[in-house]
């Protein structure tokens, strides 16, 4: 048995077991959506270069596949995976079992149902037409309700904590729990109802939402998880609490304003303020860099493919991603890079390089704990790590180069074609990696279910020996 924190009343194994059901549903669904999302990305990429390739099925045309892929990666994978990880972190930090655990279990199903409805709607062409908000109203409603239910359980668990002083991850993750319902409901109310805002306000709301969701929300989640797992995995304290809080406040304060492109055809104060805010993001970037470097310096471990490797690399990826965001907002660069593939590359780096890698590391770390069993194929964890790292590099770097070429060539249609083709290879590697995760999770769940059925069956078949059946 592991040694226990003397203050802790509840053993870790009990806490982990209390998370099992909701987390299994959240993670299994997330893994499935990740595979589907990446597969659709590959399809979109293929149709981009060879539009006639899926001429048979209009469902797979570029517009459908690309939108579906984007939404599956974020709503399908990132959000439910993040929610699962958050529930576990809150339970562990509070040293109590998950409070109201049936709530997230039901909500997890609602969430995945919402994603399924959204996916069908996109593929059949019933979308809102706003990137990242393509899901129709019914599906947005399901997502909103599911998120709030899960957040209630997370916050209730948080309220039960023994140690009253907050740990930095608390700040980041609680903010993420509040942020999403706020921005998601606002954006849907203002854009996807029967009475949307009109004219240029639509674009402004849309830019605001995209930046707050993709950049700020994912940063809150990713950094919250990294600041929790990094010290835990290295046995080092986080250095330091106040740096982390400084990063938190400056990220929240300046991050929300960023995101309106410098060349946007809106009154000049909006993009100017946005550029100002983006420039100020240098401060949280510095603070996060200091926390990561100082915390990692104490850790003398090196293992590329372990969950520690995921968390370390994923956390560090925040830095280039945020730096690219700031660079793209600089007037000198935005003139060339705006509305090219460069922006897409930054978004993909943030989602796939930072958010997804951190969450994958956390899932690979947490699942064996909540199931109290090692993963069926432990080797898959380092394999997926290398596939993801090479995949992200091969996907994002060519996109960046293509963006620069496109910007310099004055939008000549064939600019950067070679690099765009190369980037497809990265997607394929990422897809392979995600299949490994799916295999591990599904096999694990299957084994667990079979064991469960066997136990129940044994109990039913031999009611008299009931007391001797070991589960």
């Amino acid at each position: 048995m592991k040694t226990q924190d003397p203050r802790a009343k509840t053993p870790d194994a009990t806490i982990d077991a209390s998370c099992r059901l909701p987390l299994l549903v959240l993670f299994n669904g997330a893994a499935l959506w990740l595979v589907l999302g990446l597969a659709l990305s590959v399809i979109a990429s293929l149709t981009f270069h060879k539009p006639e390739i899926f001429a048979c099925c209009p469902m797979l045309s570029y517009g459908h596949a690309q939108a579906a892929a984007n939404d599956l990666l974020v709503y399908g994978f990132c959000v439910p995976a993040a929610l699962g990880v958050m529930l576990w972190i809150f339970a562990r930090l509070s040293q109590t079992e998950l409070v109201l655990s049936p709530l997230p279990f039901i909500a997890a199903h609602l969430w995945h149902l919402g994603v399924l409805v959204g996916l069908v709607a996109i593929l059949t062409g019933n979308t809102s037409g706003f990137a990242w908000l393509e899901f129709p109203r019914a599906s947005a409603m399901l997502l909103g309700v599911a998120f709030v239910l899960i957040a209630i359980s997370a916050v209730a668990t948080f309220g039960q904590r023994e140690e009253r002083e907050l740990y930095p991850s608390h700040w980041f993750l609680l903010a993420a729990l509040l942020w999403f319902p706020w921005i998601y409901s606002t954006a849907n109310l203002l854009l996807v109802t029967n009475w949307p805002v009109r004219g240029v306000a639509q674009s402004i709301v849309h830019w605001w939402f995209t930046n707050n969701f993709i950049f700020v929300w994912l940063a809150l989640v990713g950094l919250g998880v990294v600041f929790y797992l990094l010290p835990k995995l290295t046995g080092q304290p986080l250095r330091s609490k106040f740096y982390a809080l400084f990063a938190f406040w400056t990220l929240m304060f300046f991050g929300t304003w960023a995101g309106i492109p410098a060349g946007a055809p809106v009154p000049a104060w909006l993009p100017t303020l946005s550029q100002f805010a983006s420039m100020m993001l240098v401060i949280p970037i510095l603070a996060v860099a200091i926390v990561l470097v100082k915390t990692l310096r104490g850790a003398k471990l090196f293992c590329g493919g372990s969950t520690y490797g995921y968390i370390r690399l994923g956390g560090l990826m925040f830095l280039p991603s945020a730096v690219l965001l700031v660079a793209a907002a600089c007037p000198q660069y935005s003139r060339v890079l705006e509305f090219t593939w460069f922006g897409a590359a930054q978004v993909q780096l943030h989602i796939l390089g930072f958010g997804t890698i951190v969450l994958l590391g956390a899932i690979n770390e947490i699942v064996p704990l909540i199931m109290d069993k090692p993963l069926p194929f432990k080797k898959f964890v380092p394999w997926q790590f290398f596939l993801s790292v090479v995949g992200v590099a091969l996907f994002v770097i060519p996109l960046l180069i293509a963006g620069v070429q496109q910007g310099h060539s004055n939008f000549e249609p064939n600019a950067g074609k070679f690099w765009l083709k190369l980037s497809m290879g990265g997607l394929v590697l990422l897809l392979l990696g995600s299949l490994l995760l799916l295999t591990n999770l599904f096999l694990m769940t299957l084994k667990w279910k079979i064991a469960l059925v066997k136990t129940v069956a044994a109990a039913v078949v031999a009611p008299l020996e009931n007391s001797e059946v070991k589960s």
């Binding site: 194994a13 400084f246 000049a268 100017t272 550029q275 372990s306």
Partner: protein, 205 residues
Amino acid sequence: MNDDMSDESKSCSLPSSTEPTATRSTVPMWIFVVTLLLLFLGFAFFDKKGGWFDVRVYAPYNSSEELEAAQPKSAAAVAMAAGKKNYETYCGSCHGNDGAGKIAQAPPLSGSEWVMTKGAERLAHIPLAGLGGPIKVEGKDWNMNMAAMGAGLSDTDLAAVLTYIRGSWGNKMGEVSPDDIKKVRAEVGKAPQPYTGEKLMTMPE
């Protein structure tokens, strides 16, 4: 089960079951200084380019003052600006954007006695009906043809064009009103015949 798992991971990470802690070293002064410096630069940038929340200011204008300076000052200035645009589209190709005329294409308008008339009646006939045959412009003989190049313009637009040619390149004659154009247009009719210089001279200026 549990044990072999922790053995496995021992090499790469510590199987720590205690919750993470954080040190309490405070944020150094320099990062606040950098923050303040950046805030200062940011405000300066916003002051320069942001137009202080004026919803009428769009790029490439940077402020309300700049926008104001780019606006035409009076109704006459508006007509001159509109007239210049239409003149350069419909007339400049022959008479030159500088109004100096072009050899063997069209006589000059700057300083021309046909343009510098007291009223606009005679002048308005030229673009509305056309002009053909021998004329004298600033002492030189011309004998060519000009079609009714201005007949397709609206009263307001043609009035602005004539105001423009009467007020540019050193010409200093009064404005032409849309009503003047309307009157002459009615007079020349739907399918006007080009006038000769001789005939034009018989009508009031």
